[in-house]
């Protein structure tokens, strides 16, 4: 373990899809040094990509004047990726997850991001904007297995 525990880092990006590669590189750079396996690292990167793509395309409607903040918090037993936005609050835990057999039968082609997040992460928490904190925060958690 070379990365100090309780270490944190931040990224501020415009809410545009061309920034997804920057977001993935930021997450991968930190997670890959934190003792997670390659598969776990890939899954954390994927979950953050999906969360940010949803924010950019659906919450912000591809408005390039909006932005997203990411904060990575490494703890002894887990890693948290905190994703902050100022859109209308939407708790992904309230989303109806698709039944995949029905999804395939109906030939749908959107709406898989939250399902992917739930399948690869150990925890998803959502704190909507409120008094004293003007932005929404989604917290994705992955437990350390090693």
């Amino acid at each position: 373990m070379t990365v100090p525990l309780n270490d944190t880092d931040f990224l501020h990006v415009a809410a545009t899809t061309d920034q997804l590669s920057t977001i993935r590189a930021f997450v991968r750079a930190h997670v890959s040094q934190a003792g997670f396996s390659e598969l776990e690292t890939n899954n954390i990167v994927l979950a953050v990509d999906e969360a940010c793509a949803n924010l950019i395309q659906h919450a912000y409607g591809n408005d390039p004047t909006k932005s997203i903040d990411l904060r990575i918090v490494m703890r002894p037993t887990e890693i948290n990726v905190e994703i902050t936005d100022t859109s209308t609050p939407f708790d992904p835990k309230n989303a109806v997850l698709p039944d995949m057999r029905r999804y395939f039968a109906e030939h749908r082609h959107h709406g898989l991001g939250i399902l992917l997040m739930t399948r690869v992460m150990d925890g998803i928490e959502y704190v909507p904007a409120g008094e004293g904190h003007p932005a929404n925060t989604l917290i994705l958690t992955k437990l350390r297995t090693a």
Partner: protein
């Protein structure tokens, strides 16, 4: 900067092979959509998508195949997937896509899986 390329090549068998490289995400998915649409517009309904050089795929990339699969199968064709890395396959597998799409180890195996026209 996200890099993604998709190159379509029509083979003698009539199968169109679309080779992907780079990163297929919400930013680049429309590029692949354009390439598949063009292949269909040119009358190619037997499509093999080759993933050997693809580094990354998100759900936006998976969605592209869902856009076209019904129309292509109604025309007697198919989209078959080939040569995936373990990293890319794991994303397909997480959502059960191997139920709907045949995935082959190589491009040639996917190409040969199409019935030969009389």
């Amino acid at each position: 900067m996200t890099s993604f390329t998709s190159i379509a090549e029509k083979r003698e068998s009539g199968v169109c092979v679309i080779s992907l490289s780079g990163y297929l995400d919400a930013h680049t998915a429309s590029d692949l959509e354009d390439v598949i649409k063009q292949a269909i517009d040119e009358g190619c309904f037997k499509i093999v998508v080759a993933f050997a050089e693809l580094e990354y795929i998100s759900s936006a990339g998976l969605g592209v195949f869902m856009v076209f699969i019904e129309a292509i199968r109604q025309k007697g064709g198919d989209i078959k997937l080939a040569a995936m890395t373990e990293r890319v396959f794991s994303v397909f597998d997480l959502l059960g896509f191997p139920i709907l799409f045949q995935i082959f180890p190589t491009i040639n195996e996917a190409e040969e899986a199409f019935p030969t026209e009389a």
